[in-house]
Subunit: 158 residues, 2 copies
């Protein structure tokens, strides 16, 4: 039964959990740098932001996967819950800032993260979950059960 | 100076303000029905959601334009502020649920709403503001200073 044991080990090794404050020292911000601009911040700034998000409870979840061997964060993504008036005062989940370490591709970690965030949105009663991505990533999200719906537009202030 | 007086009157007549709880009786939900599914909710449900959003302070603003003559809400849109770890613990504004009454098109009310929400996002320190829209609305948002950036994808639970 080697394959079963192996699979079980992999499952355990790459479980998604919620962000912990100690993850700053485990390369969480360095991982986000692989996604976009993410300058280092002081421990105090990190703690303040961490506590602001924690105060939102289930409305704001950051998921991470830690490599048990290296003790480094190798995948992350976040979801926030938007409370609306439409859809009978419904809620929508917004997935943001999904990234997998470039050395950990091919392990389906991105899919695990997206499923974790999607399951969270469903569990708190969202009627939908949305995200936006570049054209090269639409195939990945289609495999995760998402469909192309609209065009994302933005305005940068800085 | 007739034109100045007229312009000033129009400006005053169609000012954007924050949602008030009494707007439920001024057709706020009926206006949202022009956008998407928005079944009626009880006064208590509306009040609960209103107070949840109010508790978020500047992180959650719903703007409305009231027609001073009819006392009806004829345009609305919302913005929520997402606190992130990227961009030195930066903030992003998300514009949602923008709609103008079908009988009040051509008065630039949509532009006023989007500018109000964009200004709010800028004033609280966001590095960007984003939204998603159908292909037929990209021209409108380009006039508001937005650029196409990515593809919006979604998964509906209900």
């Amino acid at each position: 039964m080697h394959s079963t044991v192996s699979c079980s080990t992999v499952e355990k090794k790459y479980q998604v959990r919620k962000l912990e404050i100690s993850d700053k020292s485990k390369g969480f911000l360095e991982l986000l740098q692989q996604l976009t601009v993410c300058d280092s911040v002081s421990d105090q700034e990190f703690q303040n932001r961490f506590e602001e998000l924690k105060a939102c409870g289930d409305d704001r979840v950051v998921g991470v996967i830690e490599d048990e061997c290296s003790k480094k964060i190798i995948a992350t993504g976040s979801v926030f819950i938007e409370r609306k008036f439409i859809r009978s005062c419904g809620k929508a989940g917004h997935i943001e800032d999904v990234v997998v370490d470039s050395n950990a591709r091919g392990l389906q970690l991105g899919k695990k993260i997206v499923e974790f965030l999607t399951d969270h949105a469903r569990s708190v009663g969202c009627y939908k979950v949305v995200l936006y991505c570049g054209a090269r990533n639409t195939g990945f999200y289609e495999k995760c059960g998402f469909e192309q719906q609209a065009i994302n537009m933005g305005k940068y202030f800085v």
